[in-house]
């Protein structure tokens, strides 16, 4: 296999263990995928490419410029899926104004109090949980609001996949080590085939991004470059799914 993004972080023993233990085999794609776009909102991306150490002064969860390197990848895959009538499902966070429901999130971050004391909005007054305009949901897409890392935790996501007759998910978004991984793990546990788009995911930690891709590729998913994923999607039949009509929704109203 060609060099992978995680190779630089592995010891020689790690490489030998992976090679000898059978992990990282190539799994089947599944026949009826949905594209999942996890948490690509202003709080994780900022308004434009800003160096991460600068960006996190405003948005403590920002992934900085890496988010914007992934944006054209997301635009391309979303475009291919819409063209094929493959479901595009976004997730983003939701919270009470008083932040009571942040729950366990307050246990591990000492800047959490900023969320309720001085709620952040963009220069255009957009909420941090708004999905960035560069990949705005279209009326026929689905947007799942969540409060925990996994897109499945306490949400209707699984029932949507069931209704659509999906057998697989293609996962993109952020963070690779957090909500992407949690969603991948739950999809795997529910017996969905899982693909992770290597250059369609990002994280605020470069090492976490690489190692989490390594872990997911070893155990739960095929981790592929977007070129491979786009080529696969192009091979699928068109119009397989009974998608929402989007009637009565404008692009942003879908959120």
């Amino acid at each position: 296999m060609t060099d992978r993004i995680w190779d630089q972080y592995l010891t020689e023993r790690d490489k030998a263990v992976f090679a000898a233990s059978g992990f990282g085999a190539t799994a089947e794609w599944g026949k009826r995928p949905a594209l999942l776009v996890i948490d690509v909102n202003y709080a994780f991306c900022d308004e434009k490419p800003v160096p991460i150490l600068e960006s996190i002064k405003t948005w403590r969860t920002s992934c900085g410029e890496d988010a914007w390197e992934a944006m054209p990848v997301l635009q391309r895959l979303i475009g291919v899926c819409r063209g094929k009538g493959v479901p595009v499902i976004y997730t983003t966070g939701t919270r009470r104004p008083d932040n009571w429901d942040s729950g366990s999130w307050s246990w591990k971050n000492n800047r959490r109090s900023e969320d309720s004391s001085s709620p952040r909005t963009t220069s255009h007054g957009r909420d941090g949980n708004d999905i960035v305009d560069a990949i705005a949901p279209a009326p026929q897409d689905l947007v799942v609001l969540k409060q925990k890392p996994s897109g499945f935790a306490g949400t209707p996501l699984h029932s949507y996949l069931q209704l659509l007759g999906c057998d697989s998910v293609i996962v993109t978004g952020t963070t690779t080590s957090g909500c992407v991984r949690a969603t991948v793990l739950d999809a795997f546990s529910l017996n969905f085939r899982v693909t992770v788009v290597e250059d369609g995911c990002f994280d605020r930690s470069q090492a976490s991004h690489a190692i989490n891709l390594c872990d997911m590729h070893a155990k739960y998913a095929n981790v592929y470059h977007s070129d491979v994923v786009a080529a696969h999607l192009q091979e699928l039949p068109s119009g397989m799914f009974d998608l929402p009509s989007g009637a009565g929704l404008s692009a942003q109203a879908a959120e």
Binding site: H158, S159, Y160, L161, Q162, L163, G165, D167, S189, L190, N191, F192
Partner: protein
């Protein structure tokens, strides 16, 4: 079944006209959904103990038995299972999870006072023997979905709808039907193969489920659908 016959079910003699009028907007065609699996809820010995007599007569020795209602459902349930096997659709049984140390002592499917139970009480009734290709789900609560891997199995098999029967209508059947519906599955509940300890509670729960969450269907109708399903598969081959 056509919308005109939407109320042609066992509850007709207990549901007054004003109630039917309130529920008129639910009237629709009923059918079995795509890629079905059969869910057999709690067809274990406890439900049949004491024989085919009114459950009130069994109160002392077999308080969990559905008596005559359980026994009346045996013949149609055998026909339903046979049709499901002929159609080669996935079949899931469920029964209580009796594994030692699996749950705190106060965990059970209902709030009823528990009497002493033996493992044999929760074995599947001998007239519905599970076959090697079937799956038996062990559960601790009312719904077959609650805290079990069932939904993962259904996903893996590409199941999009479920045909449900068993006991009790007001308890585990109802809970399982509502969870199936909430999980995005189409639900067909088979009338003659579903039972409870009293006719009234059976009928009213069927009425509730039929209008809100499931299609209550006659066993003949479901079997006819499964026979067509098998015929289609034969043509495809």
């Amino acid at each position: 079944m056509t919308p005109e016959r939407f109320e042609d079910h066992v509850w007709r003699d207990v549901v007054p006209d004003d109630l039917l009028q309130i529920y008129a907007p639910y009237k629709r065609e009923t059918f079995v959904g795509p890629n079905p699996a059969l869910l057999l809820i709690d067809l274990y010995n406890l439900a049949y103990q004491g024989g085919p007599v009114p459950p009130l007569e069994l109160q002392e020795h077999y308080p969990s038995s559905c008596g005559i209602y359980a026994h009346n459902a045996i013949a149609p349930t055998r026909r339903l299972i046979a049709a499901a096997r002929a159609a080669a659709i996935p079949i899931f049984y469920c029964t209580s999870d009796l594994a030692p140390m699996a749950a705190p002592s106060d965990v059970s499917a209902t709030r009823r006072k528990m009497t002493r139970r033996s493992p044999e009480d929760f074995e599947i009734w001998h007239e519905f023997p599970p076959q090697p290709g079937d799956v038996i789900i062990r559960k601790q609560r009312a719904s077959i979905f609650a805290g079990t891997p069932l939904i993962s199995h259904l996903n893996r098999m590409g199941v999009q709808s479920v045909i449900v029967c068993g006991e009790s209508t007001s308890g585990c059947v109802r809970a399982s039907c509502v969870d199936a519906y909430s999980n995005g599955l189409k639900v067909s509940l088979v009338e003659e193969c579903t039972f409870d300890r009293h006719e009234l509670i059976h009928k009213i729960n069927l009425f509730d489920l039929h209008h809100k969450y499931v299609d209550v269907m006659a066993v003949d109708e479901v079997i006819a659908h499964l026979e067509g399903f098998g015929a289609q598969a034969a043509v495809a081959e």
